[in-house]
Amino acid sequence: MAYSEKVIEHYENPRNVGTLDKDADDVGTGLVGAPACGDVMRLQIKVSAAGVIEDARFKTFGCGSAIASSSLATEWIKGKTLDEAEKLVNSQIAEELNLPPVKIHCSVLAEDAIKSAIEDFRKKQAARKALSGGS
C-alpha cells in the first residue's frame, strides 16, 4: 500500500513520542487497542489547572498510519482545553492524513485514545476532589 506524504512525514518525524508520569495528578493516560489486533496506542496528556492540555505524549505499536495518527493527535490537542480536545473526531485525522478506507480504524483508535486519556484525567480529578472533600 502506498502511504500519503503526510503519513510518511509523521512516521519519519513523529511528534511528542514519550512517556509522562502516569501516577501524577495532572496526567491522564489512555491505552487503547490490542496487541492481537496489531495496534496499541498509549496517549498521555498533562493538564494545567485551567484545564488546558499543556503537554501530550504517545507511544504506539502499529503500522505507519497508526503511528502517524497518534503523532498528529498529540500535535492537535496540545494547547487545547479538554472540552475542545474532546470534540476532535477521527474523520478529521483521516482527512488530514489521507488515510485509505482500510486504515480508517487507525484514526478511530487515535480518537479513542484522546477520549480515554481525558476520561482518565477526569476520574483522577474526581477522586482527588472526593478525597479532599472528605478530609
Binding site: M1, Y3, I8, Y11, P14, V17, T19, L31, V32, G33, A34, P35, A36, C37, G38, D39, V40, M41, R42, K59, T60, F61, G62, C63, G64, A66, I67, V102, H105, V108, L109
Partner: protein, 405 residues
C-alpha cells in the same frame, strides 16, 4: 549499492539474464505457433517446446516430457490438478486431504469442491509448520481420491516430508499432488523417488518469466487422468487448451537447466547468507523469534518475529529493503497470516513477523546492510512501542484486559 534491495524472492524472482537471452529469439525470429503443422515456423517452435518439456521433466525427476502440461502459472496448475482429479475420479470417491497452510490456489480450489459436494480434510501442522505423515494416513478413507501437500511453505519455508507422505499415498492407492512452487530447484524434489503423481511448478520463482507454469501428470504406475478445465483447441494432449507460450516455455526450461547445474551450490550460498543475516540480527536484538523449522527450511527463507514491533510499521521503516510481513495490516482482511496462526503463533507475534527471502542476486553486502538497517529500526520502533515499555517495566501483557476492536 542499489537501493532498495530486493529480499522478497518468495513472491517472485528477477529473471536471470541467461534466461532472457534464451527467450529472445522466440519473440522475434522464431515466433511460430507450436501448433502450426504446415510450415517451418511452427515446426521450430514445436521442437523447441518439446526440448523444454524434456528439460523440465528431468528437473523434477519425471520419466518423460509427455508428463508435463504447460499452464499459465502455478495457480492454474493447482486448480487443474485438484479440480481435474476431482472431476475425473469423482465417481470413485469424493474426499480430498490437504493442509491448512497450503497456498490459496489449493485451499480455494478445495473450498470450491466442497460447495460441489466433495468433503475435504484440512490437516493441521506443528509449531514448525510441518505436517505429520501419520496424520495423512489417519485421514485417508475409502472415499479419498487425492492428497495435496506443498513441498515448501511460501511464508516460513518449512519443507514437508513429501517422500514419507508419498510412501503412504502409494501404499493406499490415493493420488498425491504436490504444490512444488516454492521448493523446486531449492530443495530436493523428485517425483519418481517421492511417489508424487501430480506437481505444480512455475517459472517466476526460479528466475524465469512470469506467466508460465506447468502441471506434472504421471503417465505410468499409475496413469493419472485429469478432466480439462479449459475448453478449446485440445492442446497439451487435451489437458489444457490454449496456444502455447513458447518464449515463456523456453525461459522456464532455461531457468530449470541453470538450477540443475548450479542449484546445489546456490542453495549452500543462500543458506550461509541467510544464517549470517539471522546471526547478525540476533546478536544485537533481543526477543527475536524464528518462525518455521530450524533445519527443514528453504535455504533463502528467514521469517522472524520482532516482539513489540508491528510488521507493517517495521516494513515502512526499512523501506530500503523489499520484504513482506504476516501482519494483518498488509492484507485487506485485517487478519494476520493464516500460516503463522496455524503454527500456533500468537496473533501479536504474527503481526510482528517479517519474511526475508534471499535469492540468487543477493550479496553479502546486501545482508550486512539489511542487518544493520533492521537492528536500527527495530530499536527505534521499540522505543516508540508502549508494549515494549510495559515489558521492560515487568508488566505481563497477557494480564491486561485489551479491548478488541
Amino acid at each position: 549499492m542499489n537501493l532498495p534491495i530486493y529480499m522478497d524472492n518468495h513472491a517472485t524472482t528477477p529473471m536471470d539474464p541467461r534466461v532472457l537471452r534464451a527467450m529472445e529469439p522466440y519473440f522475434l525470429s522464431q515466433f511460430g505457433n507450436a501448433a502450426s503443422r504446415t510450415h517451418r515456423f511452427g515446426w521450430e517452435a514445436e521442437a523447441a517446446v518439446e526440448d523444454a518439456r524434456e528439460t523440465l521433466a528431468r528437473f523434477i525427476g519425471a520419466e518423460s516430457g509427455k508428463e508435463i502440461v504447460f499452464t499459465s502459472g502455478a495457480t492454474e496448475a493447482d486448480n487443474l490438478a485438484i479440480k481435474g482429479v476431482a472431476e475425473y475420479y469423482g465417481s470413485k470417491g469424493r474426499h480430498i486431504v490437504t493442509t491448512v497452510i497450503e497456498h490459496k490456489a489449493v485451499l480455494d480450489s478445495c473450498k470450491r469442491l466442497e460447495k460441489d459436494g466433495y468433503s475435504v480434510t484440512y490437516l493441521g501442522v506443528d509449531h514448525s509448520g510441518r505436517v505429520d505423515p501419520e496424520e495423512v494416513r489417519r485421514a485417508l478413507t475409502d472415499q479419498t481420491i487425492l492428497v495435496s501437500v506443498m513441498l515448501a511453505n511460501n511464508e516460513v519455508g518449512t519443507i514437508q516430508p513429501i517422500a514419507e507422505i508419498g510412501a503412504i499415498t502409494r501404499e493406499k492407492g490415493v493420488l498425491l499432488h504436490v504444490d512444488a512452487v516454492q521448493g523446486v530447484g531449492k530443495t530436493r524434489f523428485d517425483v519418481e523417488a517421492m511417489n508424487v503423481d501430480l506437481a505444480s511448478i512455475t517459472a517466476h520463482k526460479i528466475y524465469g518469466p512470469k506467466g508460465i507454469g506447468a502441471l506434472y501428470v504421471r503417465r505410468k504406475k499409475p496413469r493419472v487422468r485429469i478432466a480439462a478445465q479449459m475448453d478449446g483447441g485440445g492442446h497439451e494432449r487435451g489437458n489444457r487448451s490454449g496456444t502455447l507460450n513458447v518464449p515463456g516455455i523456453i525461459g522456464f526450461a532455461k531457468a530449470a537447466e541453470i538450477l540443475m547445474n548450479e542449484g546445489a551450490a546456490e542453495a549452500e550460498r543462500l543458506r550461509q547468507l541467510r544464517d549470517r543475516l539471522h546471526q547478525k540480527i540476533s546478536a544485537k536484538l533481543e526477543l527475536v523469534t524464528l518462525n518455521g523449522h530450524p533445519e527443514h527450511r528453504l535455504p533463502g527463507n528467514l521469517n522472524l518475529s520482532f516482539s513489540f514491533v508491528e510488521g507493517e510499521g517495521l516494513m515502512m521503516a526499512i523501506k530500503d529493503v523489499a520484504v513482506s510481513s504476516g501482519s494483518a495490516c498488509t492484507s485487506a482482511s485485517l487478519e494476520p497470516s493464516y500460516v503463522l496462526k496455524s503454527m500456533g503463533l500468537d496473533d501479536e507475534l504474527a503481526h510482528s513477523s517479517i519474511r526475508f527471502g534471499l535469492g540468487r542476486f543477493n550479496t553479502e553486502a546486501d545482508v550486512d546492510f539489511v542487518a544493520d538497517l533492521v537492528i536500527g529500526k527495530v530499536s527505534r520502533l521499540r522505543d516508540m512501542s508502549p508494549l515494549y515499555e510495559m515489558h521492560k517495566d515487568g508488566i505481563d501483557l497477557k494480564s491486561i484486559q485489551w479491548a478488541a476492536h
